[in-house]
């Protein structure tokens, strides 16, 4: 009970494990490219929670700065990925990632 009521490092690690699992599930199973991107965002958020949790309980600033850079990279990634998805939609008239197989023999 003491473990449950005193919020510690393990609580944050548990939440981030769930977010990482759900993100991987979305990347693995969804056919819509936009939902795959949402899964990637969930994974990046899980990583950020871990960085900030370790930074808080370590007392240093490294995790906080790294989390800030992760957010910037996530914004750049989302912009580029959306541009690619829109180009795929213009060419294939679909964003179904399993039907875009023109490189396959």
């Amino acid at each position: 009970m003491e473990q449950l009521t005193t919020i510690g490092l393990n609580h944050y690690l548990t939440i981030s494990a769930f977010l990482l699992g759900f993100g991987l599930f979305a990347v693995m199973t969804r056919k819509n490219a936009i939902v795959v991107l949402m899964g990637v965002e969930l994974i990046l958020n899980a990583a950020n929670i871990n960085f900030l949790a370790f930074s808080k309980y370590n007392g240093g600033m490294e995790g906080v700065m790294f989390a800030l850079f992760v957010i910037v990279i996530a914004a750049a990634e989302a912009a580029i990925a959306l541009a690619i998805v829109i180009n795929i939609y213009k060419i294939f008239k679909s964003v179904d990632v399993s039907s875009i197989d023109s490189l396959k023999e």
Binding site: T5, L9, Y12, L13, G21, S55, V64, A74, A75, A83
Partner: protein, 169 residues
Amino acid sequence: MSNPTYTVIFYLFAAITVCSAAFVVFTRNVIYSAFSLLFTFFGVAALYVFLSADFIAVTQVVVYVGGILVLLLFGVMFTNSIMQGQKSEVLHIIPGTLLLVGMIGAMLYTFYTTHGWMPSETTLQGSIVERIGFETMSRYVLPFEMVSILLLAALIGAAFLARFDKSSK
């Protein structure tokens, strides 16, 4: 910190985050996924406040909710016609479920059987905005400049990639 109110609020935000993340993944409707992602991002921002990273929490709300979520919604609206519906099929459902259960199980097993976490005596307390400013302009000034150039290049590249091709019309 075992203040009961603190604990209850933490569990509330943790439940919002995890449940809405599950809804993002398990619902078939792409629009529902995008709006559920909003609650996930807000829940994660609240958890950042609990981790005494208030600046990161505000950045999360501004960048993710104001930027990335709007971009994703724009993508959803642009690439799905209303007639064909917003339903999205799934594939590899069994390997995906195995990966989900295996990944969460393995990580929780590792976290809870590792007794080596030794929290420092001087955990981060209070606001860290001032310390972020000092770190950005001293130790992290080169990564800061590099990431700003990267963001500029990525946004110009995205605008270049997504522009309408005039020559083909």
